[in-house]
Subunit: 376 residues, 2 copies
């Protein structure tokens, strides 16, 4: 296992790339989908089960963990990996996004964001320096710069002002991060849906220099068309030899479109959250398990899926336990969803490696167009 | 694997016995603790995990399953074992206890109980004949007679009247059950805490003849002393060569006392329910994981326990995920509790087999008297 952070691209197909990110805690096959373990757990899953779905890396949330159980407590207990029993790579976000969407009484200044906890009202301050400290205390393998992400739509002037502060924060993050062999710091491109601002942001980040680059500020309500519009040019503005991470994405068709446009890493709560609300993702599209059409159906969600949910349980059973609000419903549907997402990533990686991405994507859309199997 | 139901006692120590119940679906080591899978799931556990704790048999609830998803639906889907992905023995209760404790607008007559569902208000009738039909549709391996269980305290006259109707229902249950090779029908002794009525009930059941006998009507609020008082004589009234099942018991010290008094089978929601409310059972007694004393504690619940919860997670982590209301808290604590209960049963079986039950019980009580490990 390597002692340093590295990214090797093994193959390209169009703009899409497949490769491996090496870290001291293990390899990450790209394009990679990262399940979200907000509060030191991927909800309704044991970590060995998350690994069994094919995940190489998890995402942890700085905002949630700094409030409960606190970064200092996790550090005293040996770090986030040991705390949550996951010894492979972890990427932590900076807290910047959640502090703006979840906290109360927040006040944004050049220094950072002062806010009250949504859990107990306690007062906190997040700055680039404090975010770097928290992510170091957690023991994160891939650390994200502290940034501000304005909600869209916003005026160009507002997006520009926010982006430029985020670039100043990126510089402060880089200074505060220092030199930590084996750990990576990623910059985050902002600029909304404005090409010039995206370019300005990319130039600022490249001038600072990072181990990887995120395309930030998307998947915040702008819609898939606008997001793909940005992804048609934004990744090209970032260094070709570093990982490109699209934050908070997404649905399977978002993922496919992002990979086609040169994205190497993604994360989203969708598969786990959907698992708890009874929405199942399959190669034929989404399935609502609460629908009465499933209540007598002896077939699995997907007869070709190898996950424990599809191997052991009928749609009728899953419908029953969902309606009865049994915990096993969240456990099984989350497992299936996470495994489907990882199977999709493996399909994308294999297709890029063999130069057959276009055919893979065509088949992906054709199967979804057919929709779910007919009721019996 | 045997094609018929059988019980072989391998060793005795005082009144306690250890042996094996053989069924076409597998063997049940006795004394046995049966986890409860009320709505076709042991809450927060996958069935393979329940098996990994050491469980040989589960209990299913007729009342819950008849209402949702219905016995007819489960039968059409291949039976309860296939439905819930558990291919080992299942014992189903008769619905008699839950219909009196959970349903609304119930009316008790000689024929049976008419009631409204607590889920949707729909009208239903449970009789000995209907209970046998439902348990047959579910595919239960061990079927319980339909009985009435009066809440204690009650007058001797009320207990006697109820017991005698239950004995008439036992006769109707036996008639309705018929001859089903490989499936067992258990009678249920009633009579409250009245020795004469317990004797009359036992005589009535023996006259009918069953594959096993439950001591019913206990663990309904009478307290451990009164329960042990009945168990000092009630099991002796039942056939020596058939399994004796104490329904709805219990806490670890209840289990130990019942086994000492000749009980072979028990069931209780306690380990799984406690797992969801943060009460952890250990050889040193109960532990409340929500207590702040655990929040910085890097030690597992029990350093000698081999369950995944104790092998992978600190008390600090379990405290955190319990406070954060994460599903993994219920998953891990339920697993530990179920495994502790099964480890206790294995200890009891080994002690009886080697004639060392008294020493085992003394050690059991001595460890509990010490209490939980000191905070760090």
């Amino acid at each position: 296992m390597t002692e340093r952070f590295a990214f090797d691209i093994h193959a390209k197909d169009g703009k899409a790339r497949t490769g491996v990110i090496s870290t001291p805690r293990g390899e990450i096959r790209t394009p990679a989908f990262m399940p979200v373990g907000t509060a030191a757990t991927v909800k309704a899953m044991l970590p060995e089960s998350v690994r069994a779905t094919g995940a190489d890396i998890l995402l942890g949330n700085t905002y949630h963990l700094m409030l409960r159980p606190t970064a200092e407590r996790i550090a005293a207990l040996g770090g986030l990996h040991k705390f949550m029993n996951w010894n492979r790579p972890i990427l932590t976000d900076s807290g910047g996004f959640q502090v703006m969407s979840l906290s109360a009484l927040r006040k944004l200044t050049e220094e950072g964001v002062r806010f009250s906890s949504h859990i107990d009202g306690s007062k906190h301050m997040l700055t680039p320096e404090r975010s770097m400290e928290i992510q170091r205390l957690l023991g994160s393998d891939i650390v994200m710069c502290f940034d501000e992400c304005p909600a869209l739509p916003a005026t160009d002037a507002a997006v520009a002002q926010s982006m430029r502060m985020s670039m100043r924060w990126a510089d402060r993050s880089r200074q505060a991060f220092g030199d930590r062999p084996g750990h990576a710091l990623f910059g985050i491109q902002q600029g909304g849906v404005n090409r010039d601002l995206r370019g300005e942001s990319a130039d600022a980040l490249r001038a600072i220099g990072f181990d990887g680059y995120a395309v930030g500020g998307l998947a915040v309500g702008e819609g898939q068309e606008a997001m793909f519009g940005v992804l048609d040019y934004a990744p090209d503005m970032l260094p070709q030899d570093k990982p490109r991470y699209l934050m908070g994405v997404g649905k399977p068709d978002d993922i496919v479109g992002a990979v086609e446009r040169g994205i190497d890493m993604m994360d989203c709560v969708l598969p786990s959250r959907s698992g708890r609300t009874g929405q199942v993702w399959t190669r034929r599209g989404p399935v609502a398990i609460k629908n009465a059409r499933h209540q007598n159906d002896p077939r699995p969600i997907d007869e070709d899926c190898t996950c424990p949910c599809c191997q052991g349980y009928s749609r009728a059973y899953l419908h029953h336990v969902f309606k009865a609000e049994e915990i096993i419903s969240s456990m099984l549907l989350t497992w299936h969803n996470l495994q489907y997402f990882q199977q999709l990533m493996q399909g994308l990686r294999d297709a890029i490696a063999t130069g057959t991405l276009a055919a893979f994507v065509a088949q992906f859309h054709a199967l979804r167009a057919q929709g779910d199997i007919e009721p019996i």
